[in-house]
């Protein structure tokens, strides 16, 4: 699902039928217009879109505002009455027998090899657009109609589903169309998006909507049940998949989880990990951050056949999902390496997306472990936070200290290092805020142990800025990165006195100046390089 699509869905969350379409079209037109204006200012298409979305504000605020304006539209109210009558009639035909519907199409726009933006970071791949699954409408019809589920197509963009004993469900139709494997998919005609269908559309039937299972996912709408299984993907070696063919249940549950937490957080900045309780092998995942590697071993009691999600505060400024499968076949697994032991919290407001600043460069290890509820009707209750007292984390930081930075292991497999980290580094950076372009200077004095002091100098006082530094070994191979944020830095000279880049032996330091506006949104980023003097 694209950021635009997600925004539009959240903004029109509470609306039905004609009102939903009107508001959606109006907002889409607004966003397109604003995006175009930002592009005219020199922003890339994706940056322009992000800025246009930010300008509009939080989608749930729009949704709440619209809810206050519209009650259920008359047209649809009538449809519901008809639907209720139909449902009452059909209820006698409905049995509680399981429906063997098998929906498939385990592909998503982000798996395209040509248009997707693939970023390689640490040991993962990030995809610019959360990928998703689409259910075949024809398959749904074939499997559900014989069991009393009525499909009502009023026009190509409107589809109503009548489940026995439930209210009519308006199925959201997507306008996506794309090509994959030389096939063109017209999604609005052929498919419905799975996670939206499950968490948004179906609950409007007012029947309990349940989801369970991992390899074989069973969906229940009242007494009607059907399976979602996935066609095995046959990897094409010529295609760089993004992510590299992650197992589908994780993606489906991941999208549902994302939908449920998107109402809690302004932006999804934290990585999360979906944990399924099946028989697969446990994967150990670590993040190396700055100079320490802390392997958290987490133990908790797992309810059989339940899905868990581990969410930790992160620093990603992008609206991305860092997705990685973590299956459980035991009740303990190694998850995250941080500077600190993970600290589990018991409420969402304590899971603050961490921000580094020059005075506090330590990364927090705040995390939440949550069970995914099997009933999806209330999004705010899809995730049930596991009491931190029921979780144990153990582990030790794996320190990789080397005082002689020319000899560290970081560059060992990357062509080696040309020079010691210690010394004076300086260079210019350029701000890229529209109309406020300026050139600044950055000086760093790095001690042999990696601690640095320095100064950032710029001609104008700026509200909030940050820099990220990356160190590279020979052949420009990336070694390490470090970020700092300066808050309330209205001055032209910013002291950098608490940094530490202990573990790198760079040939150069490359970084980017990052500018934020008064609302703390990133408005500009410019890359620069520092050379050793």
């Amino acid at each position: 699902m694209t950021d635009l699509e997600r925004f539009l869905r959240l903004a029109t969350w509470s609306l039905w039928g004609a009102q939903k379409r009107t508001v959606r079209m109006e907002l889409e037109s607004h966003i397109a217009h604003k995006t175009w204006k930002y592009q005219m200012l020199g922003f890339s298409e994706s940056e322009a879109l992000q800025k246009a979305l930010i300008d509009l504000g939080q989608p749930h605020v729009i949704s709440a505002g619209m809810t206050g304006v519209y009650t259920m539209p008359t047209l649809f109210r009538n449809t519901i009455l008809v639907g209720l009558l139909l449902s009452l009639g059909l209820a006698t035909l409905q049995s509680s027998a399981q429906v063997d519907a098998t929906n498939r199409l385990p592909i998503a726009p982000c798996l395209e090899s040509t248009n997707s933006v693939v970023r390689s970071g640490e040991d993962s791949f990030l995809c610019d657009h959360p990928y998703t699954f689409f259910l075949s409408l024809e398959q749904l019809k074939t499997d559900l109609e014989p069991k009393g589920v009525k499909f009502e197509n009023t026009d190509p963009k409107n589809l109503y589903l009548n489940f026995p004993q439930g209210k009519p469900v308006s199925v959201t139709r997507s306008d996506y169309s794309y090509e994959f494997d030389n096939k063109k998919f017209e999604l609005s005609k052929e498919f419905v998006e799975a996670s939206y269908f499950l968490t948004d559309d179906l609950p409007k039937s007012e029947l309990p909507v349940t989801l369970s299972g991992w390899d074989k996912i069973v969906v229940g709408v009242g007494k009607t049940q059907f399976d979602i299984s996935f066609l095995p993907l046959k990897p094409d070696p010529k295609i760089q998949y993004s992510p590299p063919l992650a197992p589908q249940p994780e993606i489906l549950y991941g999208n549902i989880i994302l939908e449920s937490i998107s109402g809690i957080f302004n932006e999804i900045k934290m990585p999360y990990y979906v944990i399924g309780t099946d028989e697969r092998k446990v994967e150990s995942v670590t993040f190396r951050v700055m100079d320490k590697k802390y392997r958290n071993q987490i133990q908790f009691n797992v309810d059989p056949n339940r899905i868990y999600v581990l969410i930790r505060a992160g620093t990603d400024s992008r609206l991305t999902i860092s997705s990685r499968i973590l299956h459980l076949d035991t009740n303990n697994f190694n998850a995250i390496g941080l500077q600190k032991k993970l600290e589990f919290v018991d409420s969402w407001d304590k899971l603050i997306p961490m921000k580094l600043d020059a005075s506090n460069p330590q990364r927090s290890g705040t995390a939440i472990l949550a069970r995914v509820n099997t009933t999806l009707n209330d999004k705010s209750k899809i995730l049930e936070i596991v009491n931190p007292n029921q979780i144990q984390t153990i582990g030790e930081p794996e320190r990789l200290i080397a005082n002689d930075t020319t000899q560290t292991d970081f560059c060992k497999d990357k062509g080696g290092a040309n020079t010691s980290m210690a010394g004076r580094w300086s260079g210019e950076f350029q701000s890229m805020s529209p109309g406020k372009s300026f050139v600044g200077k950055l000086d760093l004095e790095v001690q042999p142990n990696g601690v640095f002091e320095g100064e950032l100098e710029r001609p104008n006082p700026v509200l909030a800025k940050g820099i990220s530094l990356g160190a590279f070994c020979k052949n420009n191979q990336f070694a390490e990165s470090y970020e700092m944020w300066f808050h309330d830095s209205f001055t032209t000279r910013v002291p950098l006195n608490t940094g530490s880049i202990k573990q790198i032996s760079p040939t150069l330091i490359e970084g980017s100046s990052i500018e934020r506006d008064r609302k703390d949104k990133i408005v500009g980023q410019r890359y620069f390089r520092l050379r050793k003097q």
Partner: protein, 108 residues
Amino acid sequence: MDANLLKGNLDLILLTIIEHGEMYGLEIIEEANERTNGYFEFKEGSVYPALHRLTVQGLVTAAFKPSPRGGMPSRYYTITEQGQKTLIQKQQEFDKFSHAVQGLRTQS
């Protein structure tokens, strides 16, 4: 600007902007910023529910029309006769209020 003040007078502001001709959402927002030199810090998304509320109340009508830059059509808002009357009424109320506050300040 105080957000509550803006919120409390949003209908008046919107009706005033579209008083002289049909406009679409983004145009209204930009017009408000331009005419007040950025005094109204609109959160763009908050304008749409307000415009829809005015539509439901019959104070404005709305219709999709081709956008000036091409592409997707924009939803244009036009003030109705009832909207004109409401606008005059709201302007008078605001003037009275403003006058009363001025009076308080003068006396103090």
